[in-house]
Amino acid sequence: MAVYRPPHIPSSEITPKDVWLNRRSILKSAAALGATTLAAPLAACGQEAATGTSFTTDEPITPYQDVTGYNNFYEFGLQKTDPARHSGDFNPRPWTIEVDGLVNNPRTFDIDELIASQMIEERIYRMRCVEAWSMVIPWNGFPLSALLNQVEPLSSAKYVAFETVVRPEEMPGQRGFFQPLPWPYREGLRLDEAMHPLTILSTGVFGETLPNQNGAPVRLVVPWKYGFKGIKSIVKITLTEQEPPSTWNVSAPSEYGFYANVNPDVPHPRWSQATERRIGTGGFFGADRRETLMFNGYADEVADMYADMDLTRYF
C-alpha cells in the first residue's frame, strides 16, 4: 500500500483565523462578483485547497453551536446538551498522556509540549454517529502515527488501546448512584488503523482549542468509523498484542462491534444505517436526510485495510 504523505504547508500559507472564519462571506462575495473575478478572492482560501481532497469536503460545515452543543459524552450526562452544560468544572490543564505497552520507548507526554512539537493541521471530516446522525467538523490536530512513531511500537504490537480520564469530582456523569457505563471509557484500534494518515488526535475545532464537551484537551478522530470510536479526554494509550476491550462493545456486543466501521449495509439491530440525518440543516422541515456512504465516504483511503474481512461479522 502506498504511504500517504500529507502535503507540507508553510506557515505563510496558513490562513489567519479572522479570514478563515469569514471564508464563507468571501466565497459569497466571490460568487456575487461573478465568474470573471472569481479567481482572485479564492486565492485567499489557499489553505483549504492545500489540504487535499481526502482531508476536506465541499459539504457545508456544521454550525459551531451544533458541533459544540450536541455531544455524546456520558461522563458529563446522557442528554446531548449535558456535555456543554455540565463540563464547566472540567480542567484540561495540566494534562499528560501516558503511552506504554509493547513499545521500545514508553513515554509520558505533556499535552502542551506535545502540541508544540506537532504540525497542527486542519482536517474537515464527516462525523457519522452510530445513532444515524452526522456532522461536518473542522478539526485541528495531528496524525496519531506521529505520536506512535515516537514511542516505537514493537513488532509484537497489533492493537492500540485508549482510556479516558476518570474524574468524578469534575465529571458529573461519573458520580452518583446512577452510572450508565463502567469507567474509564475505553476504545481501541488495530495498529494499521491507528497508523493510518486519516486517523488523528484532535486538539481543536474551528481553529480554537478543543472545548471540554468535545473531549479536551485531546481526543481521537477516526472519520471512517462511528463517532463512539472517537474517545475523548485521553490519558492513556497502550500498545497490545490482543484486541483490547472497548466500552460499547463490552456493554452491548450485538449492537456495537469493535471495528464500528461506517457501513450502510449492516443495520444496527434497532435501526437502519442506510441513511443519516445531517445535523444543523434546515431545522424542522427540509431536514437533510442523506444516504450513508461506505466507510463514511473514505472507502478509497481505507477499504484496503479490510479487503479480506467479512464486514457483516466484524461490524
Partner: protein, 205 residues
C-alpha cells in the same frame, strides 16, 4: 370529608371535554417550537421523542384509573376515554413525525425498519392495536358491542407491554425518567394480576 370524596365531588363538577384540548397543548406547543426552530440542534428527533414520552404519560394515566378507584376510592373513570384517545393521538403523531419528518417518506427504508427491527416493529404494533380501540371509543360502539367492548379494550394491556418494551429499547442507556415509567408499567400492569385477590380481601374485610 376524606380526600377521595373531595376529589370525587370535584370530578362531578369538572367535565371531561376540556381534557381533549388540554391534552393536545403539549403537541401543539412542541410543534410550534419546532416550526419556529426553537427545539435545539436536532429538532425532529427532539419532537419525535417528546411525542412518544407524552403518549407513555397518557397511557400510564389511563392505566392508573382502575387501581385509583379500587384502592383509593378516587373515581376518575369519566376522564378515561379522553386519556385513552390522547394516547392514540400522540402515538399517531409520533409515528407521523418519524415517517414524514425523520424518515422523510423514504418508504423502502421505513418499511424495512418496520418489518425487520423489533424496536420499530413493537411501536408499529402498538399503533395498529390502538386503532380499533380509538374507533370503538364512541357511545354508540360501546352500546353496540356490549360485553365484547370490554373484551376488545383489554388490548390496552398488550399495547402497554409493547410500549414498555419499546421505551426500554429506545436508548443505549436508560435515564431516570425511563426507569420511573418502566417501574410504573410494572406496578400498574402487575396490579391487574393481583386485582382479584386484593378485591376479595377488601370485600371480606
Amino acid at each position: 370529608m376524606s380526600v377521595s370524596s373531595t376529589v370525587n365531588s370535584a370530578v362531578r363538577k369538572i367535565p371531561a371535554w376540556p381534557l381533549y384540548i388540554l391534552g393536545l397543548i403539549p403537541a401543539v406547543w412542541g410543534f410550534y417550537l419546532g416550526a419556529t426552530n426553537q427545539l435545539g440542534t436536532d429538532p425532529v428527533k427532539t419532537f419525535e421523542i417528546f411525542l412518544g414520552l407524552w403518549a407513555i404519560r397518557f397511557l400510564l394515566l389511563t392505566l392508573a384509573v382502575t387501581p385509583l378507584r379500587d384502592l383509593a376510592g378516587v373515581n376518575l373513570i369519566k376522564y378515561r376515554r379522553a386519556l385513552g384517545l390522547l394516547v392514540f393521538w400522540y402515538v399517531l403523531f409520533h409515528f407521523l413525525v418519524w415517517l414524514i419528518l425523520d424518515q422523510q417518506l423514504m418508504m423502502a427504508q421505513a418499511i424495512d425498519d418496520i418489518t425487520k427491527r423489533p424496536f420499530i416493529m413493537l411501536g408499529m404494533a402498538a399503533l395498529i392495536l390502538l386503532i380499533p380501540l380509538a374507533l370503538t371509543s364512541f357511545n354508540f360502539a360501546i352500546r353496540k358491542l356490549r360485553k365484547n367492548w370490554n373484551k376488545l379494550h383489554k388490548l390496552i394491556y398488550a399495547i402497554s407491554i409493547l410500549a414498555a418494551i419499546h421505551l426500554f429499547m429506545a436508548t443505549k442507556v436508560l435515564d431516570a425518567e425511563q426507569y420511573i415509567y418502566l417501574a410504573l408499567f410494572v406496578v400498574l400492569l402487575g396490579y391487574r394480576i393481583a386485582r382479584e385477590p386484593i378485591l376479595q380481601a377488601k370485600r371480606a374485610a
